[in-house]
Structure formats: structure tokens, C-alpha cells
């Protein structure tokens, strides 16, 4: 997952305490799913163990939050590589949607009704995301846009599949 690399990137931006990292992660990347403190410190521990960050200084006082983490050349190289590499293009819903359609046809269930129901659910979610975009939060709007484009791609696939259902049904019914 990208949490270690995101934290590493935040440390490259500025040497930081665990508390700062959690705050920045939650603000810019968490979007309603705050990163638990435990995960922050366990991740920082692994990054330090692997030589991607070092502890620059430890302020007086108790608790792990007193450590300031600085990125190493190894860590910076990893961040650079990650930011340069494209993400694996992953049609993440494909397996579920496709399986449901194929099985519906094989079992002579109403595949088109399923696809229309799915379509309605997608449109409902798109309307919710559209409402989010009307707010003033640019980051929320961009994330909503990302989701909207993905859902739109699903809907295009759904519509194409509806148009091909008869043909597909002939193929799977033996």
C-alpha cells in the first residue's frame, strides 16, 4: 500500500515528528479515514529499520512523538521512483461486475435487471460525489472527480454489456 511511501514523501517535504505526519496525512490523504497513531509509528519504525529515514534529534520529554525523522538518500530515491512509475491500471470492479453478469446469464437470471440496478446505484453515488464538488474544498472536489471518472467508466461498460447481453447469453448457454 502507499501509506509508507506517502509518509516518506511527507518527510522529504520537511523533517517531521510522528504527530505532524499523522496530521498532514489525515488532512491531505486520509479523507475521512484517519491514520491510527500506532500505524504511523510502526511504519516509521520500519522505514528507519530499512534505512529510508533516520532520527535527526530527540527532544527532551517522554513519548515517541519527540523524535524528528529525516529522509535518507535511499528513501528519497524510493519516493522518486514511486512518483515516476505509473500505477498498475487496475479495473478494480471488473471481477465482481463481470462475474455477476456471466453467472446471471449462465443461471438464466435477469442479468439486465441486475445491470440496471447497478447502474442506478452508480448514478446515486455519482450524484453524492457531484454534491461534494459543489463545496469549496478543492481537494475534496478533485478526489470526487477521480471517483466520478471511474464510476463513469463502469457505467460505459455496463451500457456496452447491456447492448451485448443477447450475444453473451448465446455464448454461455450450452
Amino acid at each position: 500500500m502507499s501509506v509508507p511511501l506517502t509518509l516518506l514523501g511527507l518527510i522529504e517535504r520537511e523533517p517531521s515528528h510522528g504527530y505532524d505526519l499523522k496530521r498532514d496525512y489525515d488532512t491531505f490523504f486520509g479523507r475521512g479515514r484517519p491514520l491510527p497513531f500506532g500505524q504511523v509509528y510502526s511504519t516509521l519504525g520500519r522505514l528507519a529499520r530499512d534505512g529510508k529515514v533516520v532520527i535527526s534529534d530527540v527532544e527532551a520529554g517522554d513519548g515517541p512523538d519527540r523524535k524528528r525523522y529525516v529522509i535518507t538518500d535511499l528513501g528519497a530515491t524510493e519516493v522518486d521512483a514511486w512518483l515516476t512509475e505509473p500505477v498498475e491500471p487496475e479495473p478494480h470492479l471488473q471481477t465482481v461486475l463481470f462475474s455477476k453478469v456471466m453467472l446471471s446469464l449462465m443461471l438464466q437470471r435477469p442479468a439486465r435487471e441486475y445491470l440496471d440496478t447497478q447502474r442506478a446505484a452508480h448514478m446515486r453515488r455519482m450524484r453524492e460525489l457531484h454534491q461534494i464538488k459543489k463545496g469549496d474544498d478543492l481537494i475534496e472536489a478533485l478526489l470526487a472527480d477521480h471517483a466520478l471518472f471511474h464510476l463513469e467508466a463502469d457505467l460505459r461498460w455496463i451500457e456496452l454489456t447491456v447492448a451485448r447481453l443477447d450475444h453473451l447469453a448465446q455464448l454461455v448457454r450450452r
Partner: protein
């Protein structure tokens, strides 16, 4: 519960030669409602829009506007109806290249017999509202795609139509420009209580509507109940 329909198609059939475009299409939009008409290319959605707007007369079935049947009225009557009560925005603006931007916008009023000065003043008001006040004297060929669609929207709304028919109004625009045009279109329609029949194949445009229907093979389908919703 549905309200009172302002525009309605009842079992409309229309063929182009041997090819059936609509095969019993039934559709209604209420006053002030924005309805997206979706569907693949060639499904009949634009034909449905043209029937609702009185541009095409169906082979069978009925078209009603504001409680009265219009499909059996003369072309002259339907033309008057369109000019007085309907507005149109198409995919490619379809502005008149010989006219200035403000003349294009004022056209529905001028065709309706309005005084030129008054019509142009009204046009400038709409252009200002849509962020085009500096473009009033330009020719349509000098406009970007987004500007042209805003001019088309101003022209579509200038006679404060009861129904605005929009056929792929963002189809030629990039996403951001398309959103801007849709924001303006919806805001203008809401302010004037205008019903919008919005033909689009893009779900991201359809979400601006209050609801959507799908045209497939010449028939209109409402969406299946969304069982995942509360």
C-alpha cells in the same frame, strides 16, 4: 409522487423510412424539472427530443405540452410554439456565423417581433450574466467552444422558455469547460423555473439532472429501483 407534466410523449412511434427510431416511447417531464435522457448513439434519444419539441411529428402516439396536444397541430403552429415557449441548446452551438454574438442571442426575440434595441439590451444582459459581456460585438467564429456554448445557452434562455431542450450541450467541450456550461445552464433553468430535457450520453453530465431515463432501441426505460439506497 410526480407533479404535473409540462411536456409529455405518449406511446410515440416514429420511423425514418424502414428504420424505426421510436417504437412506443413514453416520457414526461414536470414543470421545473431537469430530466436527463441517456442512451447509446442511435437509440432514439435525439429523435425523442425532436418529437417533444414539435420539430418532428410522430407516426403514431401523442405529444402534449402544458396540457394540450401539439403533434396534430400545423407546422406553423408548432413553429410558433417553439419560438414562444421552447429554448434549444445543441452540441455545436449552431450559431449564425454572419451575426454578432449579441445578435445571435437576441435572435429568438427578434424573430418574435421584439424591437431591436430592446432585444439587444436583453441579449447583453444575458451575455453579462454568463461572463461574456466583452464578446457581444464578435462573430461566432471567433469564439472558443465553451464561449460558443454559453452564447447558445443565452440564446436558448432569452425568451424565458418553459422548456429548454439541450442536446449534448457539452458534447464538444472538455470536462472543465463542460462543467462550467452545465453549472450555468442549471442555475439559469432553476432561477426561471424552466424545465430541461437534457439529452446526454455522459453520466457526469446526467448527474446535474433531477432524474434520468434511458432510451434503448426506441423505448424509454426508467432506471430500475436503486435497492442499495435507503
Amino acid at each position: 409522487m410526480r407533479g404535473q407534466a409540462i411536456v409529455e410523449a405518449r406511446d410515440v412511434v416514429l420511423s425514418f423510412g424502414e428504420t424505426p427510431a421510436l417504437r412506443g416511447a413514453t416520457f414526461a417531464a414536470d414543470r421545473g424539472e431537469i430530466v436527463a435522457v441517456m442512451g447509446p448513439s442511435g437509440s432514439g434519444k435525439t429523435t425523442l427530443l425532436h418529437c417533444l419539441a414539435g420539430i418532428l411529428a410522430p407516426t403514431a402516439g401523442e405529444i402534449h405540452f402544458a396540457g394540450g396536444r401539439i403533434d396534430n397541430r400545423s407546422e406553423h403552429d408548432r413553429s410558433s410554439l417553439r419560438r414562444e415557449h421552447f429554448g434549444f441548446v445543441f452540441q455545436f452551438g449552431q450559431l449564425v456565423p454572419e451575426l454578432t454574438v449579441e445578435e445571435n442571442v437576441a435572435l429568438p426575440l427578434l424573430l418574435g417581433g421584439a424591437r431591436r434595441a430592446a432585444a439587444l439590451a436583453e441579449a447583453r444582459g444575458w451575455l453579462e450574466r454568463l461572463g461574456l459581456s466583452g464578446a457581444h460585438a464578435r462573430r461566432s467564429g471567433e469564439l472558443s467552444g465553451g464561449q460558443a456554448q454559453r452564447v447558445a445557452l443565452a440564446r436558448g434562455m432569452i425568451n424565458r422558455p418553459q422548456v429548454l431542450f439541450a442536446d449534448e450541450p457539452t458534447g464538444s467541450l472538455d470536462s472543465l469547460t463542460g462543467e462550467h456550461v452545465m453549472d450555468l445552464l442549471v442555475a439559469a433553468a432553476r432561477e426561471h423555473g424552466t424545465t430541461v430535457v437534457l439529452v446526454t450520453h455522459e453520466p457526469r453530465v446526467a448527474v446535474y439532472a433531477d432524474r434520468e431515463v434511458i432510451v434503448r432501441d426506441g423505448l424509454v426505460h426508467a432506471l430500475a429501483a436503486d435497492r442499495s439506497g435507503s
